[in-house]
């Protein structure tokens, strides 16, 4: 078979990747083994092939030894194929004469038996040498990069990303599942360690979203389908009906007042059920969009079909529209930022802590609302029976650091528990007990905040409470919630009666994470958060090019880190967009015209209708701009005339042979 007449001169390089590869795979052995292969002119191993000196090594060899094929055995081609293609290009060689061998992700990192790993690496390298002989020079293809960006999730991360992109003049679609943006941060009272008010710093940014002409805000909406690839995503978004026209509603609240329900009856989501709302409501005063919404599950009109519809007549602007239906919108974007946040651990999974049993056991998020001046009690910390707590126990690590719940440390609980301790103390002057396992305060001014709390005469008891109970053993415990705990520093068992228990619940992936991962085809790490491309060097990228992640959907983190990631995502998306085009792999199919019999078998196979039949020539042809390079036609073509670049039959067949037959 023809391999471009010219003599084939292969250079082989195996990377140590520090000890990542070399610690498992015997790189010297592989280098020696490959050196003996036909056409191999140079065979080397090197500490870091992707480093500048590593790449320069290849370039120098190409020039000195007139190499015309390069095989690099290192990490996944999905990570560094581009890097090494550039290396070839810089040395004047067509970049597609490169073949990579994935000896890190597919060998060193997954096998512990060094001998077997080396043997596997040998086979993989041999296959690449076999294959690269059949590689052909190809032209890179550029496709224009769509300039718009989709941001999924309207919490602080999504808001921040959106504003950065919008200020750079990019059109941003901000899609939020809930009726308002703001996310968890909007529910908080103060933020640690500075204790500035969450609303004061968040609401201006929320309004900015509304004001910004470059931001298209779709609340009450969900992404349901994503097609295409980087630069050219086609996204389908489902907009659930609000039954109130956002463009007309000014949030005056007349409709709410006139609702057939005289009293608010349904648990208010924003206040976590600590207060009630009507079927028509505005989530909270600063909600964006500041528009009412009708909950069709509780509204009489939707439930029974008959209602006087007082709201309809109360609205002077005729904003209420009971006929709204869910709509599907299709948009084109170049990049996607996922900022879907987190959900809190459900403490009912551990009935020992009495959440849902004893009314005075609260989650930390509920306490945020209780303390909040615009919360259900207008900032007054009172228990469900209206009394003020005189003693409060804050139990850390609920749902965190446990094989039974979530294995990870949720990173923010220590700090927010300190914050809540401080605020509760200020609000109630109660005796406050913090029960912690380890106090984790890494962060600027965080340790200092802990120090401040120690001086506030808050109790810090090192030990995890095992149980919250109302069964008293001594008189002073009667009517209280008793916390039994080992004070591990004093090595004694203590029973501490309190009026109120705060469970510092951990953070976990939000409900739809898995579904969304599926839709976007991005990975999840073991704990169920979105997987970043690299934990250190690519913390906001994913393995799907053009899709970025920011905030707690990547893992628990506090507001400063979330905002930093949001900014990073926006910048990385912008860098891609501003390049204006995106280079795609020239992996398209083409027909060996002369030999096509016009059997038409391939036409219906193509998912992109890129293949058509030329009636005059009675043969098929491929429209390469439509072709996305799946190669299905090539596998189908019964007479082998449909070729997929970079994945030609002889390339793959030789790779197969190389994996099985060596030495």
């Amino acid at each position: 078979m023809s391999t471009n007449n010219k003599e084939i001169r292969i250079g082989f390089y195996i990377c140590h990747c520090g000890t990542n590869i070399a610690g498992v795979v015997d790189v010297d052995k592989i280098r020696e083994f490959i050196a003996k292969k036909d056409n191999v002119v140079v065979s080397r191993n090197y500490k870091y092939m992707c480093s500048d000196p590593g790449q320069e090594l290849i370039q120098k060899d190409i020039q000195e030894h007139r190499l015309n094929r390069i095989v690099v055995a290192s990490c996944s081609p999905l990570l560094h194929e581009k890097t090494f293609r550039n290396t070839l290009e810089k040395a004047g060689l067509n970049p597609f004469y490169l073949q990579m061998v994935n000896v890190r992700e597919h060998v060193a990192w997954v096998h512990s038996d060094n001998e077997k790993a080396t043997e596997k690496a040998k086979a993989l390298c041999n296959a690449a040498i076999n294959r690269v002989r059949y590689n052909k020079p190809l032209e890179k293809k550029r496709v224009p990069f769509h300039q718009d960006v989709l941001i999924i999730g309207g919490g602080i991360a999504g808001i921040h990303s959106a504003l950065i992109l919008a200020s750079a003049g990019k059109k941003v679609y901000l899609v939020e599942k809930k009726p308002t943006i703001g996310g968890h941060m909007a529910m908080f009272d103060k933020t640690f360690p500075t204790l500035d008010c969450a609303a004061c710093i968040l609401t201006p940014k929320m309004s900015a979203i509304k004001e910004n002409k470059n931001v298209v805000l779709w609340t009450n909406s969900e992404v349901i389908k994503v097609e295409g690839y980087v630069g050219n995503f086609k996204v389908t978004i489902k907009r659930n009906p609000r039954y109130v026209r956002e463009d007309l509603c000014i949030g005056c609240g007349q409709c709410i007042e006139s609702c057939s329900y005289k009293e608010a009856k349904y648990p208010d989501e924003f206040n976590l059920g600590l207060s009630k709302r009507k079927p028509i409501y505005i989530p909270f005063p600063q909600a964006i969009p500041n528009s009412a919404i009708i909950d069709d599950k509780t509204c009489i009109h939707f439930k029974m079909g008959k209602c006087k519809q007082m709201c309809l007549s109360a609205c002077e602007r005729n904003a209420i529209d009971f006929n709204q239906k869910e709509e599907l919108r299709e948009i084109q974007v170049g990049a996607i930022i996922v900022a879907t946040g987190f959900k809190i651990y459900d403490p009912q999974k551990e009935p020992e802590y009495g959440y849902g049993v004893y009314p005075n056991v609260y989650t930390s998020l509920e306490v945020e609302r209780l303390i909040n001046a615009s919360g259900p009690t207008a900032g007054e910390v009172i228990l469900r029976d209206g009394t003020k707590p005189k003693s409060i126990g804050i139990i850390h690590c609920i749902g965190s650091r446990s094989e039974k719940a979530n294995k990870w440390c949720s990173r923010v609980c220590c700090m927010y528990s300190l914050k809540l301790a401080y605020l509760l103390k200020k609000h109630t002057h109660a005796e406050i007990y913090n029960f912690y396992i380890d106090m984790r305060t890494p962060g600027k001014m965080y340790e200092e905040f802990y120090d401040r709390l120690l001086m506030e005469r808050v109790h810090f008891i090192r030990g995890k409470v095992a149980e919250v109970t109302d069964i008293s053993l001594v008189k002073e415990e009667e009517g209280k919630l008793i916390l039994r705990v080992e004070d591990t520093l004093a090595s004694v068992i203590r029973r501490i009666p309190v009026d109120m228990v705060v469970l510092s619940v951990g953070l976990e992936p939000s409900e739809d994470t898995q579904k969304l991962a599926h839709i976007l085809n991005i990975g999840l790490s073991a704990e169920g958060f979105f997987q970043e491309r690299h934990p250190k060097l690519a913390p906001v990228s994913t393995f799907s090019e053009g899709i970025f992640i920011a905030g707690c959907c990547q893992g628990p983190k506090d507001i400063p880190d979330t905002v930093a990631q949001a900014g990073a995502s926006a910048a990385e998306a912008m860098a891609m967009i501003d390049a204006g085009y995106f280079e795609i792999e020239p992996i398209t199919a083409h027909v060996l015209d002369e030999f096509c019999s016009g059997c038409k078998s391939c036409i219906n196979i193509c998912p992109y209708s890129a293949i058509s039949y030329d009636e005059s020539k009675k043969k098929v042809f491929v429209n390469e701009t439509l072709c996305k390079g799946c190669g299905t036609c090539s596998a189908t073509c019964p007479s082998g005339v449909m070729k997929q670049n970079l994945f030609e039959d002889d390339q793959i067949l030789n790779e197969i042979e190389g994996l099985l037959v060596y030495e």
Binding site: E352, I471, L473
Partner: protein
């Protein structure tokens, strides 16, 4: 319906009444029990403090004999036996080395054990094998005048319990309710009574029993229903002392759930072993008839 049955030592000793009432109930509703022939003691948790392998062997001998008879399930009413049997299965499964060694020993007398016999408790069988209807059909006098709390104890629920929610078990409540008894909410139902300690070093464990009794009294229970012979004994035998130490009347009769079922089925107190109860006051006895 036939089940293999392992009574265990306690049901022949201080838990005699448990076996008596259990057998009566089975007879009444048509459960046929086949006792494992020449069964030996499971060793209970005490033996675990002596030798791991031998404790596995003790249990395995019984189950190997059962397997030889073609059985694949066994009912163990005593909760200590229930735990030990389950533990044996788990350890044989989790540690292949232990399984090999255990079987080596059993082979001395021509036995082998697979580790797969399913261990059942009456609370599992009665509720999950469809016997509740049979029970209801056999109720002759409903015990509506009584209030009671159900107390499950430890080893039935921890660490192995596959048939009920170990943090909030329901099966005994359900069964006792069938008799018309008003089963009260009892948050202490999974707590430890400290039996093994209390019965040996009484001064250490009084408090546990006191709290259990006090809470039941507070809730106006007429008696406590239990499932463990050791709990039954412990809760009974400490009462006198507790009332002295705490100067508080917290005395309550302690009955097995099988006794309650039997009572409602019209079986006599004597047949159900209720007369063996240490806390059986004449008034209570009268109220039962």
């Amino acid at each position: 319906m036939k089940y293999f049955y392992y009574p265990g030592c306690s049901l022949r000793g201080m838990g005699k009444a448990y076996e008596e009432s259990w057998l009566k109930v089975c007879q009444k509703i048509g459960i046929h029990l086949e006792e494992i022939e020449d069964w030996n003691c499971c060793g209970s948790t005490t033996y675990l403090g002596f030798d791991e392998i031998k404790s596995l062997v003790l249990v395995s001998r019984n189950l190997a004999m059962l397997e030889k008879e073609g059985g694949s399930e066994v009912i163990t009413p005593c909760i200590a036996c229930y735990y030990l049997f389950n533990r044996t299965n788990h350890n044989l499964r989790d540690y292949p080395q232990l399984k090999t060694e255990t079987n080596k020993m059993l082979q001395e007398v021509g036995l082998t054990y697979s580790g797969n016999v399913k261990v059942r408790h009456p609370l599992d069988v009665l509720v999950n094998d469809g016997w509740m209807e049979k029970i209801s059909q056999n109720i002759e006098k409903r015990l509506e005048r009584f209030k009671a709390v159900c107390y499950y104890g430890c080893q039935l629920l921890r660490p192995y319990c596959e048939f009920d929610n170990p943090k909030n078990p329901k099966n005994m409540d359900i069964l006792v309710s069938l008799t018309g008894v008003d089963v009260l909410d009892y948050p202490l139902k999974t707590k430890c009574c400290g039996a093994i300690i209390t019965s040996n070093i009484p001064e250490k464990g009084l408090e546990l029993v006191y709290v259990l009794l006090k809470e039941a009294r507070k809730r106006k229970a007429d008696f406590i229903v239990v499932t463990c012979p050791l709990c039954q004994f412990n809760l009974e035998f400490q009462q006198e002392k507790i009332m002295k130490v705490y100067e508080e009347d917290v005395g309550l009769p302690i009955l097995y759930y099988t006794q309650v079922l039997g009572l409602a089925m019209g079986i006599s107190l004597k047949e159900l072993g209720i007369t063996r109860c240490l806390t059986l006051t004449p008034e209570f006895e009268r109220s039962l008839i």
